[in-house]
């Protein structure tokens, strides 16, 4: 527990994540919040707290905002992201549902059509596949099909991508699936700053937003830089290679950048934040400087957001999840997703280094 209280950029996010998904510490955020007492001290919070605070603030600001999902109210959230919100706002505004994703996602969409602002939580986006028709066809396309008459200001949020030891059916990264649908906005935040700001922006956005969190980041004090929403953020500046990543892969990329720095390689890490719309300008600006591009994501290879760029000295390196359903055994699972040593190795390869 003590290690998680330290102000560190990356290690806690992973240290707290190396545990089975079921054993969520119920008091994860208690005792961690600190208050600034001097200019040099930073006020930090965990990703989980940031999400919780974003929802609390928006629900206070606008009485049309409500939360709907499994275990969000009396259980305080399967991952404790909605902890305390039922106590503050009551059961009218924090609604527990039966385990019927297609049904309650449709209800959220209908409520949004009628002017409410639902935050529809999926326990993970793996379960959201049962509701994907409501997300894509009812929410994503209705504004267009109605000629601009019927907006759908709904937020679908929940953990996405790799967890730890939860097997193939609980580990898929859906960023590319939702990112391929025009009409949806798709966000994949990384730091606590991202989560607070982007969730507030998503709730206020009149478009349907798919908000992809990551369970392994919830407990961490992930510190990033604050910037405009819906844009990529250069979290670390460099001049030799551009590494583009989103969500948990930003953590690995930042660590890889530290490793590379030890060998004199200056990597620039871009936290993509928004999958759709994709901030191509930030990427191009960086690639013009470095002439080398690496893309890191947890999804399967065919769906990776690799693109051709005109300013490259070497082919684009794509680092993705392996093209297999996620295995359960720990050693195999480790080989199914990118990690820091792998990113470091591939970055060197892009720079024509073999060691």
């Amino acid at each position: 527990m003590v290690s998680r209280l330290l102000l560190s950029r990356f290690a806690p996010a992973l240290a707290s994540a190396r545990r089975p998904a079921a054993a969520v510490p119920r008091h994860a955020f208690m005792g961690i919040r600190r208050y600034a007492t001097a200019d040099t001290e930073q006020h930090t919070m965990t990703v989980r707290e940031a999400l919780n605070l974003a929802m609390e603030e928006e629900m206070t600001r606008d009485e049309n905002v409500f939360i709907i999902g499994e275990e969000v109210a009396r259980y305080n959230g399967a991952y404790k992201v909605t902890k305390g919100l039922m106590d503050k706002f009551g059961e009218k505004r924090v609604v527990d549902t039966p385990i019927t994703e297609m049904g309650f996602a449709g209800i959220a969409v209908g409520a949004a059509f009628q002017g409410l602002r639902p935050i529809c939580e999926f326990m993970t986006f793996n379960f959201a596949m049962q509701a994907i028709d409501q997300i894509v066809n009812s929410a994503g396309k209705t504004y267009y099909m109605s000629g601009g008459n019927v907006p759908c200001p709904v937020v679908f949020r929940g953990p996405n991508g790799a967890a730890s030891g939860v097997g193939a059916q609980h580990s898929q990264d859906y960023a590319a699936w939702y990112g391929s649908v025009p009409g949806l906005k798709v966000v994949s935040p990384w730091s606590a700053e991202d989560c607070k700001g982007l969730l507030k922006a998503a709730i206020r956005d009149p478009n349907p937003v798919v908000f992809l969190e990551n369970e392994m980041l919830y407990g961490g004090h992930v510190v990033g830089l604050l910037a405009s929403y819906w844009q990529g953020q250069v979290e670390k500046e460099g001049s030799d290679i551009t590494i583009v990543a989103h969500s948990k892969m930003v953590t690995h990329s930042m660590e890889a950048a530290e490793e590379l720095a030890k060998e004199g390689i200056k990597a620039e890490v871009i936290n993509l934040r928004s999958i759709r719309p994709l901030d191509i300008d930030t990427i191009i600006k960086s690639v013009k400087k470095t002439n080398r591009l690496m893309i890191v994501e947890g999804g399967f290879p065919i769906s990776s957001r690799a693109r051709q760029f005109d300013y490259l000295d070497a082919p684009v390196e794509r680092v993705t999840g392996a093209d297999v359903p996620t295995p359960y055994a720990t050693n195999l699972e480790a080989l199914a997703f990118p990690d820091t040593p792998l990113i470091t190795k591939v970055a060197k390869r892009a720079l024509y280094r073999t060691n």
Binding site: T100, G110, A112, S138, D205
Partner: protein, 286 residues
């Protein structure tokens, strides 16, 4: 199509509430069907996507509109509105899992949703008995009470709808299932002649003995409300209105090509660029 529309018109006259269904109105609906700019959805939706502030229909995904309808009722309850929502679907949709998910949550939370199953005996080309192990659709709501209504009788339809509204709005009894037993003369859609899965004789018989409009006419005459001579001009006027509207719609322009890129996102929140079919096509917003 006009006849079904008149029955639906009577249905909607009984209330001032929202409904999700597969039937259209006049005027800009015709333009929408023709894919014109003057259409209700500016030509972007087509026959399955007609929207007004109190009408959301239909939905291209069979059954999806049912939870969405329950969601509209959720919002009405949340905001304390004295209103309810009619979520309409056919016998073909009545076996969808999401329909039962919507039933469950509507009953659990006492949502003012009237689930309307329009049983016209055929789910597209398949007889209802071949799809549903239980075709008494008004009983499928389990704990939600249900009524079976003669959908070919306009007066019965109106009364049923009025009853449903009172049930949900005035008496706040929560959801209700209404099954309208009706008949479809034509095919499911324009590419279906409607005769490969039933006999012409069956269609003829229904048309001559069960037609709702003829039925209403008979009532009006029997009860001395109007004579055939008085009713004829109404029919004529309706036909003339429709003809005029169709001509207007036919003459109206298609949407401009820029509309391809319009309304993908809420006005004012467009991204910088939307790619076209190849790298030289696309639309830059700013």
């Amino acid at each position: 199509m006009r006849r079904m529309e008149m029955a639906a018109d009577a249905l909607y006259k009984a209330k001032a509430i929202r409904g999700f269904c597969h039937i259209g109105y006049w005027a800009s609906v015709i333009a929408e069907l023709l894919g014109r700019k003057g259409g209700m959805s500016q030509g972007k939706g087509g026959s399955m996507h007609i929207f007004t502030p109190s009408f959301f229909g239909g939905n291209g995904i069979v059954g999806a509109q049912v939870p969405v309808g329950a969601g509209a009722a959720f919002a009405q309850q949340y905001k304390g509105e004295k209103n309810c929502t009619f979520a309409m679907y056919g016998d073909g949709a009545s076996d969808q899992g999401q329909v039962f998910e919507a039933y469950n949550m509507a009953k659990l939370w006492n949502l003012p949703t009237i689930f309307v199953s329009e049983n016209n005996k055929y789910g597209m080309g398949t007889l209802a008995e071949r799809c549903s192990s239980d075709t008494a659709y008004f009983t499928r709501g389990d704990k939600i009470p249900g009524l079976q209504v003669n959908g070919m009788d306009i007066i019965a339809a109106k009364q049923a709808v009025a009853y449903a509204r009172k049930w949900a709005v005035d008496d706040q009894n929560g959801p209700l299932v209404l099954e309208f037993v009706t008949y479809r003369y034509g095919g499911h859609s324009m590419s279906d002649p409607g005769t490969t899965y039933r006999t012409r004789e069956e269609v003829q018989r229904m048309r001559s003995t069960q037609d709702p409009i003829r039925g209403l006419q008979r009532y009006l005459e029997e009860w001395g409300v109007a004579t055939e001579q008085e009713l004829k001009p109404i029919d004529k006027e309706a036909k003339a209105t429709v003809d005029k509207v169709v001509e207007e719609a036919k003459a109206s322009p298609e949407p401009p090509v820029e509309d391809l890129w319009k309304d993908v996102y809420y006005k004012g929140t467009e991204p910088k660029f939307l790619r076209g079919r190849e790298r030289e096509e696309g639309h830059r917003f700013y």
